[in-house]
Amino acid sequence: MPASSPQLLVFAGALLLGGGVLALGWDRAQAEAPCLERAAGLERDACLRDTILAAPADDVARVIGLASVTSDPVVRDATLMTWVMRNRPALSSDAALRVCGRLSTTEARACERKVLSPHLWP
């Protein structure tokens, strides 16, 4: 008998969470547990957003990992853009561009230009 839609959603959610845990590493994942234990949705994304914005500039891999488990694309993009701009002085161009590359097309282009040509953007 084929699985019903809710079952598929739960399965997909578990896979996503598992992927996130693998991507972050076990220690990291435990540290992010308060966020990841919440049901997928804006509340969990808000928790992930707070964790990302509190991350230091040398924690690029963790920021990208956390963004990858943020389900709302607007929250994810806005958080990553804000994190890049707040940490820009301490970020290398390569690291900043890696984060910009996780954004949707239009925002990625704007983010890359801001990183590479800050004098052209107010």
Partner: protein, 212 residues
Amino acid sequence: MRAEGALAASLAVALLACRDEPCAEYAALPEARGLCLARRVDAAPDAAAALAVCQGEAREVEALCRQRWVEARLMDRHTAADDLLRVCGAHQECVFEVLDARPTGTVAEQVLRCETAVPLYARDCAGHAVERWATAGPPEAEIVALRRGLDRYPDLWSSYVGIALVCGGHPGCDAVAIERHACEQSLAKARALATPCRTRPSIDRPLGGPPG
């Protein structure tokens, strides 16, 4: 009693849905709300409405928001270039796009405008203006006269004089008294091009070639 409470709650939800306030779901997340509003700024009916959004809750992504509204209206004849420039503000890249899509006056005037309005992009902006002028096939007298107007960009003139002659249907460099050698070289290169007269798009020439 409980049934009335449930009914009231349902009505409240329905009323909220009817209000259809954009990006309301991000009320507690200021960056996300700002980006959400910036992504919808195309719907702002005029420059004042766009500026209200971009300078208001979309402040974190203000430049992106301004450029988004402007790009959506670059080719809309009902939106005045002045309104586009007002929304661009100090955003040079945005202003450059407006000058490029809405050229005005003679090519020499456009070059001056580039230098005044987008000093950081002045050379590229002037290059686009000269390219647009050359590919439109200017009269020979204009080609000779423009050399003096491009004193600050002599390489631009030598790059495009050949294209201007070919697209204007002029036989050669006879009328060009100065930099004759550069003119001959430029003309040879222009004649080797497959489509020398394809122009860059603007509101008057969306896909290249003269209007009409």
